[in-house]
Symmetry: C2
Subunit: 323 residues, 2 copies
Amino acid sequence: MQKATARAHPNIAFIKYWGNRDDNLRLPSNPSLSMNLAGVYTQTTVEWTDDLTSDSLDINGEPAAEEARMRVSNHLDRVRSRLNMTTRARVQSENNFPMGAGIASSAAAFAALTVAAVAAADVQLSERELSTIARMGSGSASRSVPGGFVEWFAADTHEESYAQSFAAPDHWDLHDVIAVVSTEHKKTGSQAGHRTAFTSDLQPARVAGAQARFDVCRQALLDRDFSSLATVVEEDSNLMHAVMMTSRPPLFYWQPTSLEIMHLVPEWRREGLNVCYTLDAGPNVHCLCTADAAEEVRNRLQNLSEVGEVRMTSPGGAAEIIS
Amino acid sequence: MQKATARAHPNIAFIKYWGNRDDNLRLPSNPSLSMNLAGVYTQTTVEWTDDLTSDSLDINGEPAAEEARMRVSNHLDRVRSRLNMTTRARVQSENNFPMGAGIASSAAAFAALTVAAVAAADVQLSERELSTIARMGSGSASRSVPGGFVEWFAADTHEESYAQSFAAPDHWDLHDVIAVVSTEHKKTGSQAGHRTAFTSDLQPARVAGAQARFDVCRQALLDRDFSSLATVVEEDSNLMHAVMMTSRPPLFYWQPTSLEIMHLVPEWRREGLNVCYTLDAGPNVHCLCTADAAEEVRNRLQNLSEVGEVRMTSPGGAAEIIS
């Protein structure tokens, strides 16, 4: 078997990853914690073949831009190195969600790519090792390999910095209701952004407190304690954006409408709705809520004139081999 | 003479004051730097009189609320203590700018009150001592006693924490074009806000870098170097709001329109306009610019649909006795 297809879900971080202690290995500065998103996925087929002299990449049926192809090819080099092979690959990748859906795609992409590439070589690796390999393609991809609620360890070595599930998708039916504020391509991507993290005077303090926030968040999830979850999730998101906005040069991912929603969500919570916000490196607002609140949150977001699409997701499973 | 009238200007901080090392004495955590605002002022008459058994306060011709009267009376206690007197005072204060003009009024109010109260007692105190006394009424009032461009020292003792001018108003004709975004009364006032500063994990790092930003800002003003000024002023404003937004509970002073202007101003600067933004503990955006850019900045701000009033000010003088 020289061909395999895998699917992986994107994830939303509750405790954020921002900045690396090692940029090349993508060893993060702090531990992070996330939930996979069901219903949305990247599906990637990898075929190892002697017909090619360089790796090829199609995204959604079209040949990809050279920059994307190079990034995938560099990642396949890591897989080849691990598996002691030199063959080139034909890669076909598809997202079932549109670009600009407010969902970061690189996590799902590099998780699916890693799992498919290894399976296509007919090799069995542990989930832990697949996670470490995916991490080197895109940090948060390490978290899209295991299922449900996932923790990613900050460690000093490649082998120790992997993600694992600490609760299954059915542990708690949290919803992520995503308000799409802008479909514009962001000016500074996450990869470049991570490199600026330590130009902010505030990053060391954010990192220093991350383990404590991680512990609180993990326990709140295990206890299904929405109130504790909301406080720490919003604080952690604000801390990351505080670092971004005080980097040199400053990175502002929030749009005016993002801020409007960030003002509204805590008011809704005071009214009794179980909802809190978190934002990744982009303007779209992820409104985490309990299942009973999801419909109301969606309706309220859709009533805001500046909000485009509103997309609802729930806890998703691990990356898996489809064929 | 038992009666005197004084005027003082509000000021806009270029390097912000946020958080105290001593809340009672209002000894600030870090040095700050500001410009007085010409054209806008508080005018206060103090009359020491044996007719009263408690201090009275009228603001704009109306008896003030008890909370405001108490704060003024507490400040007059400091003046009485320094001057060894027990007489009560009749205080009449007027602002020539409306509430909600985007201009903090307490700095001008406590500077004018201090200067008038001492003059009405027919005592001469140095500007330095007047600044230290004003500081105890409202921290930033220390900076409204001297004129023009003002530095306020963070020190360990009451006597050493005062403000002084380091450049006269005519040193550089900077304008502060104020976009009034909201005239709503803010939910958390500055006094209460200062007390929360150290609940943010980020405040120690903000404070640690303040002296370096202060030095860069002071030199940029002395050199009339707008480009250096813009970078450090925006960074310092963002650092203060980063601390506010990550306090427990978080304080969000920015409104969506504030953020819209914060996105636009650096773009205008890249087009060649000498303008930068800074925000105090409120949603209104102070657009600092050179005189040649002021009209264009005002027009652009007025064209934004969510902006109410736009007010233009320039460097103002010291607090002064009028009669």
